[in-house]
């Protein structure tokens, strides 16, 4: 940046210096011509004032002899005087003239006064030589000014850019390699303050994002440990168990653990898919009843295995708008969580509402609920509490997916205690702008156990 700035300054100074030189030369040339023309006039009028008698052929030549050619014609047209050995340029009519004589361009002033014609001429070569004598001085002076200007501008630029170098050094040498800096706003020049503020905002967002990412990875690792523990226990015991009935029990637990791990992997992949910047499932308006019925068919086996009954409560004609498969992913995680935490014999209720420009999907269970602090924090446990490991079984990848889906829809996830105990999760998002109606899309197929 410094090099480019200095190159730009150098070119600017040179161009400016060149322009100044051209203008200076032009003005000098104009002034010289005006001065010389004035001299021609003065010489002519001097002859008029002093008359022919003043002309002394024996007088010594003035200092400017040879620079001018003076000629005088009498009234009868006879050349009375010429300052050159020959006749000089031909007589002209009164006034200013440019003519070529003897292979040279001349500037000529002719005056008629009292029957006499006085003509004073000067060759352009004489003027040019006089002008060229000034060139080295002007060019030298301009060069010096240019160099001085460049030096001053360079010093000023270096001084002005020094805070940027300090900023670069600060950013390039953080106190901890993994730590994003927070810059002090005080030592920077006023012009850099907005940049520093912007950088601090970006760093704060990145820090928050990294913390959220680290928390998610920790949660994922935590969730993987439980089925991995089951996998390890039952694998070890299976190898020692000679009884076929007991072996079958261990094998059943192994399969369950593998299915849980598969679900966790699918959740991670879904979350990664939702995090992609170009995730763009089209928005539809769809028949909620058909959408929920299709999803219910997927949830029923798990609900029956846990002895939980699923009830749906829909207002007639409810039509949801949004990204149907993405919304299904959110609801699927909420329902799975609710089934897992519901006691056998309990009822799980799914409600869909559409009013005041907002859609609402609610999943109510009568399970063990969630700690109030975690509930109010959108399901995220308070990581500062030493015992935050508890009550966090619902705070893993599932709720992370739900929160991401609501973010994509401009909506929110809220958690409340169900009347009588349990947890009610509510998804609320604004109705999408008018879109052509689409048939009820099928929810995505369940993950195939592998």
């Amino acid at each position: 940046m410094m090099g480019r700035l200095l190159r730009f300054q150098a070119v600017s100074v040179l161009v400016t210096g060149g322009l100044v030189a051209v203008v200076t030369f032009w003005l000098t040339w104009q002034s010289l011509n005006a001065s010389r023309n004035h001299t021609l006039e003065q010489v002519a009028y001097s002859v008029v004032r002093h008359g022919l008698e003043a002309e002394d052929p024996n007088a010594t030549d003035p200092p400017d002899a040879g620079q001018f050619v003076s000629q005088i014609w009498t009234g009868d047209g006879r050349l009375h005087f010429s300052s050159t050995d020959d006749d000089g340029p031909p007589r002209q009519s009164p006034g200013w003239h440019r003519l070529t004589w003897d292979g040279t361009d001349w500037q000529v002033f002719t005056l008629v006064e009292d029957g006499l014609t006085i003509q004073v001429s000067q060759a352009d070569d004489t003027r040019t030589q006089a002008f060229l004598r000034t060139v080295p001085w002007v060019v030298g002076l301009l060069a010096m000014v240019t160099l001085l200007l460049y030096a001053l501008l360079s010093a000023a630029a270096r001084r002005s850019l020094q805070p940027l170098a300090q900023l670069q050094a600060t950013l390039g040498n953080p106190q901890h390699p993994a730590q994003l800096p927070q810059l002090d706003t005080q030592p920077w020049p006023r012009e850099l303050a907005p940049l520093v503020d912007t950088l601090n905002n970006v760093f704060a967002q990145l820090t928050h994002s990294r913390a959220a990412h680290a928390h998610l990875v920790a949660r994922a690792a935590h969730e993987f440990r439980t089925p991995l523990a089951a996998l390890k226990i039952h694998t070890q015991l299976l190898a020692r168990q000679p009884d076929a009935t007991q072996q079958a029990r261990h094998q059943a637990h192994l399969l369950q653990a593998v299915e849980r791990l598969t679900r966790l992997v699918n959740q991670l992949l879904k979350l990664a898919e939702l995090e992609e910047p170009d995730h763009a499932e089209p928005t539809d308006t769809f028949d909620t009843t058909a959408w929920l019925d299709a999803a219910l068919a997927l949830w029923q086996p798990l609900a029956q295995a846990h002895g939980v009954q699923i009830v749906t409560t829909l207002e007639p004609g409810t039509r949801l708008s949004g990204k149907p498969q993405t919304l299904h992913a959110a609801l699927d995680n909420l329902v799975h969580n609710a089934i897992r935490h519901s006691p056998p014999g309990s009822t799980l209720t799914i409600r869909a509402q559409d009013d005041a420009g907002h859609h609402r999907l609610m999943v109510e269970d009568h399970g063990c609920g969630m700690a109030p602090s975690q509930r109010l924090n959108g399901g995220v446990p308070d990581s500062t509490a030493p015992n935050h490991a508890a009550h966090s079984e619902r705070s893993g990848l599932g709720l992370a997916i739900v929160r991401r889906v609501m973010w994509l829809h401009g909506g929110t996830l809220s958690l409340a205690e169900t009347a009588g105990g349990g947890l009610t999760a509510t998804l609320q998002w604004p109705r999408a702008t008018a879109q052509p109606d689409a048939p009820a899309p099928a929810p995505p197929p369940p993950p195939a156990p592998t």
Binding site: P227, K232, L237, Q246, H253, Q256, P386, A389, A390, H391
Partner: protein, 227 residues
């Protein structure tokens, strides 16, 4: 040795119960903190295995409440959280050991035995009384160097008595130590096992304190024949 397992995950809970039982331990399994507090009113447990992520309360809260409630057997926390601050928090709040999931089952069994031994006057890996030796981890008992052929219940009974020789154990206490919840227990089952144990050990080892219970004691030295 009787273990109280507090674990809400069915797969892990059932696996631990099956594995510990196969290792000769008696296990009661509860899935909530409330059930655990109720179970801990029974003093028969030698060790508690505690999961932190319980549905109704934090496992560490349970630990604090149980400590305030009265004497608590050694507690081993079994958790998916493996960060140092979690281990430190658990140990500071009164846990005696911390094992991270997934774990090696033999390590769990060994740690439970170690925790149990720590509470006893004799802290060796084996319990001995005169020439009678019991190794709970290897599940071996020898008398004068000769291995004893004991059933699992007889071995557990002998291990319960030899932990603190001379201490009288009541029949309900012995029954609690030998049987887990849900096991069918005949009314005289413990006496039958005691009878068998007496027969295999020989006279003078198991003493009946009438109306109180039973204790293990060094048999009296045989009287020298009069010359």
């Amino acid at each position: 040795m009787k273990v109280l397992l507090v674990e809400d995950d069915a797969a892990i809970g059932e696996g631990v119960v099956l594995g510990l039982t196969a290792s000769g331990l008696t296990v009661d399994w509860v899935t909530t903190g409330g059930q655990a507090l109720a179970a801990l009113a029974n003093p028969a447990y030698s060790v508690v295995v505690l999961d932190l992520g319980l549905p109704d309360m934090d496992g560490l809260d349970l630990l604090g409440r149980a400590r305030r409630q009265g004497a608590l057997p050694p507690v081993l926390i079994l958790s998916a959280r493996n960060q140092p601050q979690h281990r430190v928090a658990g140990l500071n709040l009164g846990a005696d050991d911390y094992l991270v999931k997934p774990f090696d089952f033999d390590e769990l069994v060994a740690r439970l035995h170690a925790l149990h031994r720590r509470r006893l006057p004799s802290q060796g890996a084996q319990f001995s009384l005169a020439d009678l030796t019991v190794d709970p981890l290897q599940r071996e008992a020898t008398l004068a160097g000769t291995p004893l052929a004991l059933s699992p219940k007889e071995f557990n009974l002998l291990a319960a008595l030899i932990e603190q020789p001379g201490v009288v154990r009541s029949l309900p206490w012995l029954e609690d130590r030998l049987y887990a919840w849900g096991e069918e227990v005949a009314s005289n089952a413990v006496q039958v096992h005691l009878h068998n144990l007496r027969r295999k050990l020989g006279e003078g080892w198991v003493h009946n304190i009438r109306g109180v219970g039973y204790k293990l004691a060094r048999p009296p030295a045989p009287e020298l024949p009069d010359d």
